[in-house]
């Protein structure tokens, strides 16, 4: 995004009068008309950025931009103009796809990353299950069984991802807490070779 897009706030209607007093806004310069006080373009198209309005005018047209801005409350006009300017510039650079090309690219990236994440989590579950399976000792008393119960954190995480992957909001997994298993307290550390299970 070009610099200076976020400098002007929408509540600068007085800027229109000051800019017209000092210099017409980029829109009025382009349109070769007098920049009146209250010019709807003046707060968002400063004279130092002529290309911004030129692009927006080329793709959307001054009349359409005026209608759009008039339909919005003043506090949203700055963002609207900036997004229009971004889209217009993208369309000028790529007349076929415009910014839709970026959306398509990002959608593919998101899909690819999601698949890779699912695969990695699947491997983690496989490893976690293998550890549980190989590390389970002979069944002792009830209290020991309770302390040996796995935390199920990778599976919980996998389920959470599965639930969140319906095209809605994606929830990042929580920071894992130490995986408390009885052999973590074993001073001999004979399970450390398998990762110790202390952190997932």
């Amino acid at each position: 995004m070009p610099d200076g897009f976020c400098v002007y706030s929408p509540c600068t209607e007085k800027m229109a009068s000051s800019s017209s007093y000092n210099s017409p806004c980029a829109a009025c310069k382009f349109l070769r008309r007098k920049c009146m006080p209250g010019c709807i373009f003046a707060p968002y198209f400063p004279p130092e950025e002529p290309q911004k309005f030129a692009n927006v005018h080329k793709i959307f047209g001054a009349s359409n931009v005026t209608k759009l801005l008039n339909e919005l409350p003043p506090h949203q006009r700055e963002d609207a103009v900036n997004s229009l300017a971004y889209e217009a510039e993208a369309r000028v650079r790529d007349p076929v796809y415009g910014c839709v090309g970026a959306i398509s690219f990002l959608q593919r990236q998101v899909q690819r990353l999601q698949k890779e994440l699912d695969a990695a989590n699947s491997d983690l579950i496989h490893y976690a299950c293998s550890e549980i399976t190989t590390a389970l000792p002979a069944p002792p008393g009830p209290s020991s069984i309770q302390s040996m119960a796995p935390r199920q954190r990778p599976i919980d995480h996998y389920d959470r991802i599965g639930m969140g992957n319906e095209g809605g909001y994606y929830e990042a997994p929580a920071i894992p807490t130490p995986y408390n298993l009885p052999w973590n307290d074993n001073p001999s550390g004979e399970n450390n070779a398998a990762g110790g299970g202390s952190n997932m």
Binding site: A80, G98, M200
Partner: protein, 163 residues
Amino acid sequence: MRNHEPRASSSCAACKLLKRRCTPSCIFAPYFRSDEPKKFAKVHKVFGASNVSKILNEVPEEQRDETVNSLAYEAEARLRDPVYGCIGAIALLQRRMVELQVDLAIARARLARYSASSPPILNDHGSMIPTLAELPACGGFADCFSQISSDTMNDLSQFPYIF
């Protein structure tokens, strides 16, 4: 009373909306069929017929179909969200991508612990999995917009898949 004979070919959606005669060389006719009036209506409202015509004249004929489809997509997005239009989708996707990159790095770091004696895990391109510090910072693009917030931009389902 005069009998109105049916026309041999109907006007395209553009010429119907613009209330003009649809000539055989109408630039809109191949892409705005008469049975899809809303498509042109949306494009016309956002871009204007004149601008669309200029854009189509600038691109090669074989790319005009894609051009019209992307313009229709953009117009639809802008009408749904007059403030951000397609940019909302871009910001949301960028944020989602960074989140996934972070989660993937965490998952692969965990996997690496399981195979501590194995070689470092490489990605599909044979490069090392980036550390968290190397991942691009979230925001950036969205920082330029004062009102974009996670509250308003969490629903990817409103942006249909393009590919």
